[in-house]
């Protein structure tokens, strides 16, 4: 084998291949021995690391913590077991590659490949066989069978398309409405505490929701209504309000806006009380709550819908009506 290859090597460059260069391990027996030792050492160390993994698993209780420089405090067992296991598998890989590079034969081999296309006779025979089969099966002559088969095959995908109906029901008008309605009490999220106007200081923020939401969600078994009806209440000085989406939709400087970004529907309450900007952390859409919720930055295409609010007879904040425009991300039928 080796003998044969050495002649290959001599003529190698005549085939357009670069001349084979012998490695140090091919030439010097000491280099070869050293490489053997290195490979065996890697495999041996891997075995030791493997045993060490088992030992570490038992040696470190799960709640022991250690401080790793630059990375901080973490679980000793996770670090040592994971680290040693990683070293163990890494050394197997490194040893195998080192073995292949330094010690296994590395002569260049050329494997000639025949032409990819078949002979003319083979191709003609295949075509003839196809047509004689088509003839014998009657696919060509028996038109009624052929047409009924093609018809059946054409119809087969139809039921699959009809099954898509189960993805419904269609949303109908549900994307345009929320459960907010005139007189619906506004309560804090998540404590469900009714809110008096004097509870919110100027510069204050309250995450809020409709009072009937929890019960409705429990009944429906989903949070479809919740994701549409969550709001933020913020209070500013009435003279800071530049514009609103409706006349007197605030209550003494308290404005209520949807909490659902009109871009892709992230819930947002990053409110900067000095600029009155509401920032979406997902794609940095920014809405100006002092100026009718208009988009001042980012990819959102629609302003943040405002909820008209007032107080009820007991002095608690309530909605004056539902949102006048759809909340959340835009959808196909929005127009």
């Amino acid at each position: 084998m080796t003998e044969h290859h050495s002649t290959d090597v001599d003529h190698g460059h005549a085939d357009g291949l670069p001349e084979h260069k012998l490695r140090r391990t091919d030439v010097f027996p000491r280099a070869e021995k050293r490489a053997v030792r290195q490979v065996a050492a890697m495999f041996g160390l891997s075995a030791i690391a493997g045993i060490g993994t088992i030992a570490a698993f038992f040696a470190f209780p799960a709640d022991r913590l250690i401080t790793v420089p630059a990375l901080g405090q973490m679980s000793a067992q996770n670090v040592v077991v994971g680290g040693l296991m990683g070293v163990s598998i890494l050394l197997i890989g490194l040893g195998a590659i080192h073995w292949a590079r330094k010690l296994m034969p590395d002569h260049e081999l050329v494997q000639e490949r025949h032409d990819l296309d078949s002979t003319y006779a083979d191709r003609k025979a295949a075509i003839d066989e196809f047509w004689s089969g088509a003839e014998a099966s009657g696919f060509i002559n028996r038109k009624i069978i052929r047409r009924s088969l093609l018809g059946a095959m054409a119809l087969f995908p139809l039921p699959i398309i009809v099954l898509f109906k189960d993805l419904g029901p269609m949303p109908g008008t549900s994307l345009r409405h929320t459960i907010w309605k005139a007189g619906e009490q506004i309560v804090t999220d998540p404590q469900e505490r009714p809110i008096r106007p004097e509870d919110i200081p100027v510069g204050g923020l309250v995450n809020a929701m409709p009072v009937s939401l929890r019960k409705l969600q429990d009944k429906q078994g989903n949070s479809n209504e919740g994701v549409k009806s969550v709001i933020v209440l913020v209070r500013m000085r009435p003279d800071e309000i530049v514009a609103q989406q409706g006349k007197n939709w605030d209550y003494q400087g308290i404005v209520a806006y949807s909490k659902v970004c009109t871009h892709l529907g992230c819930p947002i309450s990053l409110y900067e009380h000095r600029t009155h900007h509401l920032l979406c952390p997902c794609h940095q859409s920014t809405f100006d709550l002092a100026d009718a919720g208009k988009v001042v930055f980012g990819p959102a295409a629609r302003r943040m819908p405002q909820l008209p609010i007032t107080v009820d007879a007991d002095g608690y904040l309530v909605a004056a009506a539902d949102f006048a425009e759809p909340v959340g991300p835009s959808f196909w039928e929005l127009g």
Partner: protein
């Protein structure tokens, strides 16, 4: 000295000189730029008087001699003792320089001086008071409920692990890892910088204690899963994987593919 002279043409010599120059300039700047520590007012009869003279010395250049505010600093009338205790206690005030965001640094005032400043500002107009020790005591707080409140009201800006996050135009929500219970409470009632206020009406003392307990828990939770990478989620994890991870894989592939000599 001769050894230094002999090495002056060493290739690294220029870098060493540059480094020394940078360090010395930096040290000089730090020494000169440190605001001169406000001297304790001598002979003041009351805490408010002491606070007033400290204020005139350290704060009035921006906030005005009577804390009425100016073009570069807001009015402090009615901000209350809690706001002063927070801003001065976290070292944000006095500002090192004007900018989008005041950052946490070592406070230059002692506890007594801070109390005096707070007392002076509180004397100007009623405002939020510094919470008492029992108000910020989270011993009986509900951790799970604190987590729920934190995720609804705080996590949006301060990150789900309390590590802070970016706002607009260079502003940011700071990390809560060094915040004391009193400072967390004060921030909620005074709304420092961009932060909105969370009044007692919608966020009563019990709720605030629950949140304080949760933040305390976040501050003390170890990284069971290994390096936290800032607990920013997929951003840093992805960055590390794409740079360090892929870099190592490419290096390994190059090593495997290189011809052995």
């Amino acid at each position: 000295m001769n050894a230094i002279a002999a090495n002056r043409r060493h290739p690294a010599a220029a870098y060493v000189v540059l480094l020394l120059a940078l360090v010395s300039v930096g040290a000089l700047y730090a020494a000169l730029a440190t605001p001169s520590r406000a001297a304790t007012a001598i002979g003041s009869s009351t805490q408010v008087d002491q606070g007033k003279s400290l204020f005139a010395e350290g704060c009035s250049s921006c906030h005005g001699l009577n804390a009425q505010g100016s073009g570069v600093g807001p009015s402090l009338i009615g901000v209350g003792a809690a706001a002063v205790d927070f801003q001065v206690g976290t070292g944000r005030m006095p500002l090192a320089q004007q900018g989008a965001q005041a950052v946490r640094k070592a406070s230059i005032y002692s506890d007594t001086e801070r109390a005096a400043l707070a007392a002076y500002v509180a004397s100007l107009a009623p405002g939020p008071e510094i919470p008492s020790a029992s108000m910020v005591d989270a011993a009986n707080a509900d951790l799970a409920r604190g987590g729920e409140l934190f995720r609804t009201n705080c996590a949006q800006c301060h990150n789900f692990a309390g590590r802070g996050g970016a706002l607009t135009n260079g502003k940011m929500a700071p990390s809560l890892m060094n915040a004391t219970p009193t400072q967390i409470y004060e921030a909620m009632i005074t709304g420092p910088e961009s932060m909105p206020k969370f009044g007692d009406g919608t966020m009563p003392v019990q709720d605030k204690q629950d949140i304080i307990n949760y933040v305390h828990n976040l501050q003390n939770s170890p990284n069971q899963g290994g390096a936290a990478l800032g607990r920013l989620g997929p951003v840093t994890e992805g960055l590390i994987l794409w740079t360090v991870g892929l870099g190592l894989l490419i290096a390994a592939a190059a090593w495997i593919g290189a011809k052995a000599r």
